[in-house]
Amino acid sequence: MTNHWIDVKNADVILIMGSNAAENHPISFRWITEAQKNGSTLISVDPRFTRSSSKADIYAPLRSGTDIAFLGGMIKYILENKLYFKEYVVNYTNASFIVNDAFGFSDGLFTGYDEKKRSYDKSKWAFETDEKGIPKKDPSLKHPRCVFTLLKKHYDRYTLKRVSDVTGTTESQLLEVYKAYSATGKPDKAATIMYAMGWTQHTVGVQYIRAMCMIQLLLGNMGIAGGGVNAMRGESNVQGSTDHALLFHILPGYLPTPAASIPSLAVYNEKNTPKSGDPRSANWWQNRPKYITSFLKSVFGDKATAENDFGYNWLPKIDDGKPYSWLDLFDAMYDGKIKGLFAWGMNPACSGANANKTRKAMAKLDWMVNVNLFDNETGSFWRGPGMDPANIKTEVFMLPACVSVEKEGSITNSGRWMQWRYEGPKPLGNSRPDGDIIMELGLKLKELYAKGGVFPDAIANLKWDYLTNHKYDPHKVAKEINGYWLKDKTIGEVTYKAGSLVPSFALLQADGSTSSGNWLYTASYTDKGNMAARRGQEDAPNKIGLYPGFAWCWPVNRRIIYNRASCNPKGQPYNEKRWVVKWDAEGKKWVGDVPDGPWPPMQNPDGSQREDGRYAFIMVKEGHAQIYGPGLNDGPFPEHYEPLECPIEKNLFGKQRINPAAPVYSADVDAFATCDARFPFVATTFRLSEHWQTGLMTRPQPWLLELQPQMFVEISEELAKLKGFKNGERVKVSSARGSVECTTIVTKRFKPFKISGTVVHEVGVPWHFGWRWPESGKEESANLLTPSTGDPNTRIPESKAFMVNVAKI
């Protein structure tokens, strides 16, 4: 979240799209409810009418996989009706930037496409720059190649009729949503978007979110109270695990993973540190060398020296351009190229797309270590449906982990709040905290590598000293993440003593005198104590629900990021009633939330430019938020493409049916079926409030199983009539990859869509089930149906839009 949970109460309009807050983030409804009591409008856009929709003032259905069409139509509506916040757009976004004439778009393709590689040459999308490398601008927004003009041109094709033909949303429903939402393009109005996996799990997932960012920027809704782009994470610590580099392409703190072609730290820094010739751009990532060096010092301790590049070459490298995502790993495993698997706190046999492929891939492993609370469909895959244990050689080890309440440590919630939690009851039986298991594993590896092995330095040189009394110490790890001064250092008039904790990431150094396991978390655990453990109940002076003394939030306890954009260039808030920060000219400082950097605003009170001011969007090289995003793999503007499996032959927006950069896999189990009479219905997956993830913690729980006992499929009354289904009868739902038995829920909450004049039916299945529980073994995972393809930027699988059949058993 750019903002945070409580801040939802400040919104005038709340859009729940690509998510289902009432069912999947129930507590968020406390703040939605508060906003509604204050007169705000709640909009729910979802293929099916959900428990969130039941509380909405406006509900609009759309066919799964068509959100870019829906949002593209909104962009056109905002532009045509001049509802954008012009001062904000000119000052804070790249709308005025002039794009190189190499950029172009026709027939669904941007310039620079290589069909064989299924990828783009992004250099074709660059800005036109001056001699200092600064993008040329036209603040009148009239230049034929400025972003604003290109934006208008790109979305000119997103007419109400065409959008309606693609999404199945009626024109009047579209207009109702567009009108309500874009009414917040005024300085004193705010709208927020709450999204989740309904947006990410598509071949165009990142571009869904981009489209919404663009809308928020056009309306001036970024950086303000009640605004922002807010990802509701699917698990209490997803934000924390992302910050600490769960994903293959990053190290902790969003530092790029070194590639094999980058031989030294100097080259790494050269390639990964953006340079701006514009003195008024803070270009915060220019500090990257400080963060990577401090990270290396944290990992390798005294062994990391300037002479050995701080151990840079002991870090694992990825082959240039090669993805190592979930889809790719299981593809390689299916191919027999991966021999061992740690399934840690996960249940791949149920959680990943194309679960049949995943399960078959696991049968090719030599060994698997399953670290979890209970045995699950993954640890027991060899005795699952369709498996012959006699023919499976995989050796499975089960390491029982204790549950979250039995251990101490932190989680970071969707709102970026790091919250410390204490140990409640002691771990049950032989179960242990994950930290304990990891520590011991590391120590054992160090012991084994001391005796030799391939490239032992990477393991042997790990600092790995987080034990107290022979046990994992979460405080030591939290301090390591924050970082230490490793030498006495005097900066200005302050001397920092070696061994003390670094108070802020602004002080981290590139010379090896500081350590930090994750620069974003520097300031979370200082000599003043464990900031995450704070439970202060006082709000900040602006009284917008920031509660700065409760827990701690990255970066540097800033509760609403990009908050400089909540003010005009003179540093005064656009909305006095819900101000976030403001410049105190006498005190020469910002007050309110922690500002995005200490620099003064862009202008003096008399409107003259200040040379010491900085642009609002400090993490972007040019300092301006990106309405035009030339960094993504599939284009600088979001374009509607159909899901890999879709019900229509032709994309009504262009010749390209699917995202031209989406990954496609070609193992025998990667079957697809588009416009195939065998699989005529659109399907989507969803979650329920009654179960959690793959259900490992909830399906064995009788009280929860009582509420949602069986796998089911939601079907419209119209489709039920067409196929002769009764409510509550067992049917088979199948795709090109697998099938699942389901109980029908025939409901008014699903309605057939009219797509280009044709009736298209959609059905929905929850994904919480698996054969281990309930005991019947008949309630299986929805991921047996979903395809192995995903987003070209994140490679998140496309589990939210695919094609199925539903038949009587």
Binding site: A22, E23, P26, I27, F29, R30, T33, K37, F49, R51, S52, S53, S54, K55, Y59, S689, E690, P702, W703, L704, L705, E706, L707, Q708, P709, Q710, F712, K726, N727, G728, E729, T743, T744, I745, V746, T747, K748, R749
Partner: protein, 239 residues
């Protein structure tokens, strides 16, 4: 001071945290259920289920509404079940809170008579004829805690406190809600300790959302029972 619930169904998201919290606090067993083509489960209240979120899909004024009704005993101010039983060791009202409480002694009562006396169709019997229903989490309330269902509710639909405060909250909220839903109403607020607010005609939510046959006095059956009970007790004492 007597206590009351205020249940604002316009805020209920049917997360059913209340339903689970009730089972957890009372340590009630889960029922073996199947999916019957609806999210609502179990299908009905039972000896082991005191709290049930009822769900209905209705088209009202051309718009689809998914209506949620978190049902429980209303703890009537003059409970017909208590008066029908006429047996304070089986059914009685806790003076301090107004909670209507059932004991193990309900086993000796006439199940049909008691259940039929209830205008909200709440009490349920076990196989041996013992009756059970919501007890207002009396053990929690007496120790200064909120009832489990209220404590767990994330959206503010479930509220609990002194009767006067709850009534005031309900009336204030009714006005707010009526701006959006003109037919909104409070259900039997003068007769019960569990005051519901619904946005539409309460009968659409659930057949027994409002009293099926409420009378300000007592029914003939209850009157007879009341007259008879001292004699019955006298006879039992003789025996």
């Amino acid at each position: 001071m007597s206590k009351a619930f205020f249940i604002d169904t316009t805020l209920c998201t049917a997360c059913r945290g209340c339903q689970v919290a009730c089972k957890q606090w009372h340590n009630l067993p889960a029922e073996k259920t199947t999916n019957k083509g609806t999210f609502q489960n179990p299908a009905d209240l039972s000896f082991d289920t005191y709290k049930l979120v009822r769900m209905r899909e209705e088209i009202i004024g051309g718009k689809l509404r998914w209506l949620f009704f978190p049902e429980q005993c209303r703890h009537c101010l003059e409970p017909p079940c208590r008066d029908t039983a006429g047996e304070p060791t089986a059914i009685y009202t806790d003076k301090e809170t107004g909670a209507v409480l059932y004991t193990a002694n309900t086993k000796g009562l006439d199940v049909k008579e008691i259940t039929e006396a209830c205008p909200y169709n709440i009490p349920r019997a076990s196989d041996d004829g013992t009756l059970a229903k919501c007890d207002m989490c009396i053990d929690r309330v007496q120790n200064g805690l909120l009832p489990a269902c209220v404590k767990t509710c994330p959206s503010g639909a479930m509220n609990f406190g002194d009767r006067e405060a709850m009534l005031e909250m309900a009336k204030k909220r009714l006005k707010e809600v009526q701006a959006k839903f003109p037919k909104a109403s409070l259900l039997d607020p003068d007769n019960v300790s569990v005051i519901y607010l619904t946005a539409f005609d309460p009968k659409i939510y659930h057949e027994f959302s409002v009293a099926s046959r409420h009378s300000p006095g007592i029914t003939r059956q209850v009157a007879l029972k009341k007259m008879a009970s001292p004699i019955a007790r006298f006879i039992r004492a003789l025996g």
